[in-house]
Subunit: 268 residues, 2 copies
């Protein structure tokens, strides 16, 4: 394995850029190829078959670009497509759900009683997070809620708008009344709306950002498996989209805090 090969990342649209940002921060020597499937965003309201088909196409594309591993930076695709992708492709495939286990292990036993999860319908219905949480502690109480409007709100750039606050109040009130200890942001778009989510939640609910937990997991994984790039000669980031949607560039620049992004459209 050539350790200077890039890490492939994909998402339905913009959300996965939160994972890319954390990865760039934690792994400054690595190169990245990011694919945003803007032609099919959002995945949350598509059929499982469609999400599996799109994920397969993107993974094949990234495989043809010699990536050393792939991060599925989309919770919907992680929930429904991860296993099939790992069976088909030889390089490691890391999803955004499994890393929650390592994150939970940081807490002392019995300090957490109730965990909240928010995500798309597909993610919530798949119960993928529940399996990870019960593996950590089968006595935890889990309260989950699909928040299907968060992705469109964020994709429209309204995450700090009054509309976002109204929608958060509507979706998140149960987590306050149930007094959950943690709220897992089970969609890589959601960290973009963290400030608004925090304004609505009562103070003592900790937010678990799956973009950050995933980046930490990837770092540990590539070091453990000796896949990390030791040189900084060729590190770079390519951003590719399946439809050059008008708002994408501006928004990507805001998330990645860079005006130097080179975004190219690809046909898949």
């Amino acid at each position: 394995m050539n350790n200077s090969l890039p890490i492939g990342i994909f998402d339905s649209g913009l959300g996965g850029l939160t994972v890319l940002k954390e990865l760039q921060h934690l792994l400054p020597n690595e190169s990245f190829i990011y694919v945003g499937d803007t032609a099919h965003v959002p995945y949350g309201n598509k059929s499982k078959d469609a999400v599996i088909r799109y994920s397969n196409k993107i993974t094949s594309f990234l495989a043809s670009h010699n990536v050393k591993l792939i991060v599925i930076a989309c919770n919907t695709a992680s929930s429904v497509a991860k296993n099939q992708l790992q069976e088909k492709f030889k390089f490691p495939i890391i999803d955004v759900i499994t890393p929650l286990y390592d994150h939970l292990c940081r807490y002392e036993k019995n300090t957490i009683n109730k965990v909240g999860i928010i995500g798309t319908y597909n993610t919530i219905n798949s119960q993928s997070y529940n399996k990870i949480i019960y593996k950590y502690d089968k006595n935890l109480k889990i309260i989950s809620k699909a928040c299907p409007l968060f992705v469109p709100i964020i994709e429209e750039g309204f995450h700090n708008h009054n509309i976002a606050r109204s929608v958060c109040q509507e979706y998140l009130s149960d987590f306050n009344s149930e007094k959950v200890d943690l709220l897992v942001l089970g969609c890589t778009h959601y960290p973009i709306m963290t400030d608004t989510i925090k304004q609505v939640l009562i103070n003592n609910i900790s937010i678990v950002d799956s973009a950050l937990t995933t980046a930490e997991y990837v770092k540990k994984f590539i070091i453990k498996n000796q896949l990390d790039n030791q040189t900084t000669t060729h590190n770079s980031t390519q951003i590719l989209v399946t439809d050059k949607a008008p708002q994408f560039k501006e928004f990507a620049q805001k998330i990645l805090l860079s005006n130097q992004l080179n975004i190219k459209a690809i046909n898949l």
Copy 2:
């Protein structure tokens, strides 16, 4: 021309079903083939090129099913793809924007001063409605507003929910303060949310439903051009989708008030 041939209709998703419903009501002798491009919904945040490419594929598909005319039951596709489709295909293609002219002609001159328009970004930015309104009266004042969250709210079935009311208050307040005479629902999804929109608007604003104006226009057009089906022997409705999205059937049944829908997935 065989007048018993079906009328083709397409939209990005569910919204065009409001046009289908009005067409079924006004033209009970006609057969219909509806295509909902659920693999790419919503069109409002896609690039113009992508919307033109999707519209072309669907129109070619409908052409291969021998439709006698096509209704583009999507304002975004009407705004950006109509002219190119009409150049390429021989049968008549009717969009959902042009019919507004006939509708405006019903009002006595000088009874309307200000017209409001709501739609997706693509529709509003295309200024397609402005051209039609200025053709009717170039002195009218036009106030337009993109309401990008209405489609996701409706596709999620939240159109009578508190969230919809909050979002309506946010988007529509200018139409109240400006006291527009008419508000054009410039997206075929929006009639589904008419009740909530009415709750937020002041009383004397009339709502123009583009699904209804389009169906009235189509009726007039096929009678004038002697394309109307005189027999009722074979009338039927086929509904086809490019992705069998989980919520589509239930929602289509609610819009069309029928439990007997036969919805098939097609690959385009």
